[in-house]
Subunit: 145 residues, 2 copies
Amino acid sequence: MFMGEYNHSVDAKGRTIVPAKLREELGETFVITRGLDGCLFGYSDKEWEKFEEKLQSLPLNNKTARTTVRYFLSGASQCEVDKQGRILIPANLREFAGLEKDIVFIGAANRIEIWSKAKWDECNEEYDDNMDEVIADMESLGFNL
Amino acid sequence: MFMGEYNHSVDAKGRTIVPAKLREELGETFVITRGLDGCLFGYSDKEWEKFEEKLQSLPLNNKTARTTVRYFLSGASQCEVDKQGRILIPANLREFAGLEKDIVFIGAANRIEIWSKAKWDECNEEYDDNMDEVIADMESLGFNL
DNA sequence: ATGATTATATTCACCCATAAACATTTGCAA
DNA sequence: TTGCAAATGTTTATGGGTGAATATAATCAT
C-alpha cells in the first residue's frame, strides 16, 4: 500500500530520484503512464499487469474504450531504477504533467502519483476550500470516517 | 478505546514522545494522517486497515473520490515508535496541522488526534461558547445523553 | 515526606537519502 | 572519422532522519 508525500526534483536530463520508501514496494523496475487530473501514475510491475488486463478486457468496438486504451498505453513507460535510485521520466510524460524542477511523489493505494509541485499545491488548496462539501459528497458514496 | 488529553512537545527534528497511555493501545507501529478541522488522525495498524479498505473500495472514476483518497493517503505515514517512545512527524503533516512546539494528543474512540496547542485551545473555547446549541443539534442525529 | 521508578524533554553526534554538478559513454549525423 | 547530443554513470556536499545520552518532571510505594 503506497502512502506518503515526498518532495523531489528532476535534473536537467529529466531524471529524478525515486523516494526510498516508495522504492521498497515499487521494486527495481516499474511502469509510469499518464494519469488523471494532470499527474502521472506509477504502478509496480505486478499492479501494472492487473491494470493492463482491465484495459485488455475493454470492448474495442466502443470508441470511448479505444480512446482510453490509447491514453494509458501510449503514455506508458517501463522504468528502470539505476544504481543511484533514479529513473528517467520520458520527455513526453514530463511535458504532459508539467514536470520541470520541483515535483511531488505521493502514494495512492495501489499506485503512486507524480505531480509538479505547482499543480499539487493548487490541488490541495482547492481541496481545503471545498473540504466540507467534499466530505459531504463522500457520504453519498457510502464513505464515513 | 482511546481517551484522555496529553500535552507534549515536538523537538527540533520534528519528533515527539507518544503518551505512554496511548502507546499501550497503539502498539509499536501505527499510522498518522491528515485529519479534519486542522488536526492529525492516528490509527492503530488494525484500525488503519479498516480505513484503508474503505478508501480502496471507492470508485476512482469519481473525482471527489480520487481527491479524498489523495488527501488521506498522501498524508499517511507509517510511524515506528523508537526505543525512547518517540515518533517522527513528517514535515508536511507538521505544517498541515501547524505543529511547532506545544502539541496535544487526545484520545477519540477508535483513533487519536494530534493538535497544535493553540488550535486545540481555540477549538475548546468555541465549543464552550456554543455548547447548548451543539448539544441540541445532536438530537437530529439521534443522539441523546 | 522520601526515595525509587517511570515518563517526558532536550541536546548532541552520526549516517544515509537526496541534490547537484561533473564525467563518461553511446548513438547518430555530418 | 569527427563532432555533437542524449543517455548513463560518478562524485561530493548538505540536511534531514535516527540513535544515544543526559536532564528534568511526574508518579508511585514505602
